[in-house]
């Protein structure tokens, strides 16, 4: 095998801080910090929007958005039972880019779309793990799941 099949991977780091309510088992996302290397950023305003929106989707995937399937059909029928983050759930997000022009990209750019969605779910799962002192082996880490993990210490 020769050559580099994936020359233009972009990279990123997400840090998520959460607090945990031991009575309701609910999670609140307090703050997020992110940094990305997407080559040269072409339009920073759009890039930050993409990054913050992607991160919030990733967070929702990690602690809120449970999609149930039964007999091959989705159990969630609407936005009332498929819960996505609202204004009240969105944490302050600080986002920075590392200017690292990519020699094969137009104007030094690399891709940044899905990248920003990737880190949120594992980051929040790990933050919850640290907060509750038990392993989180499943997403979304909903209050019901966290209650099970703590009460039965299954993991």
């Amino acid at each position: 095998m020769q050559g580099d099949a994936y020359p233009s991977y972009s990279w990123g780091v997400n840090i998520v801080e959460v607090s945990f309510d031991p009575v309701t088992y609910q999670i609140k996302v307090d703050h997020c910090w992110s940094t990305y290397d997407v080559g040269r950023v072409v339009d920073e305003r759009i890039a930050v929007g993409q990054a913050d929106g992607g991160l919030l989707q990733g967070l929702g995937y990690g602690y809120l958005e449970h999609m149930g399937i039964k007999d091959g059909k989705f159990r969630n029928r609407s936005l009332s039972d498929y819960i996505i983050p609202t204004f009240e759930d969105a944490p302050p997000m600080e986002t920075a880019f590392i200017d690292n022009p990519f020699i094969y990209g137009a104007n030094g750019a690399k891709g940044m779309g899905e990248l920003t969605l990737v880190g949120g779910a594992p980051a929040i799962a790990l933050a919850i793990e640290q907060a509750i002192g038990h392993k989180v082996n499943k997403i979304p880490a909903t209050p019901e799941y966290i209650m099970e993990v703590i009460n039965h210490d299954k993991h």
Partner: protein, 157 residues
């Protein structure tokens, strides 16, 4: 069928339609006001909000009969105002719109907030707008846009 009269975007209108029709369908299908979006059809997302006597309401939950005698403003009507101009520029400045599906509802919700509370705190913005969902922006830019509009449009509201 009884005709239902209301004000729509500054004009008096009368329609002979089933009074139990959802206002969103009347606006989109009868008046071709396609800026009113349907995200969920059940009051969860805010994409369909319009102003009714200055307050934001979900037009997917409102039967036509209930608007008799009231004043409805959609994004198409609101876009003729100075307040819209300030909000639009603020949204553009910080990137408060991405795919844009939530944006008409967000702008209407922001107008309803600012017209009753011209200098809201961050918490007040979040609380007031929390019935409007956005899948793209992460909300932070929208909060900033409303803050900017509140400053730059001081005196308008």
């Amino acid at each position: 069928m009884t005709s239902i009269k209301f004000r729509l975007n500054g004009k008096d209108v009368a329609v002979d339609l089933d009074p139990s029709m959802r206002l969103i369908d009347v606006l989109r299908d009868h008046f071709s006001l396609k800026g009113v979006k349907e995200g969920c059809g059940e009051g969860s997302c805010g994409a369909c909000v319009v102003l009714m006597d200055g307050y934001s309401v979900n037009s997917c939950l409102l039967p036509l009969a209930n608007v008799e005698g009231h004043e409805i403003v959609t994004i198409e009507g609101f876009k003729e105002t100075k307040q819209f101009d300030v909000l639009q520029k603020a949204f553009a400045e910080v990137g408060g719109s991405q795919c844009g599906f939530c944006s008409p509802g967000m702008i209407i919700a922001a107008q309803s907030l600012l017209s009753h509370n011209p200098h809201p705190t961050e918490e007040e913005i979040k609380a007031h707008m929390s019935g409007n969902l956005c899948r793209c922006t992460g909300y932070q830019a929208i909060v900033q846009a409303v803050e900017i509009a509140s400053k730059k449009g001081a005196g308008l509201w």
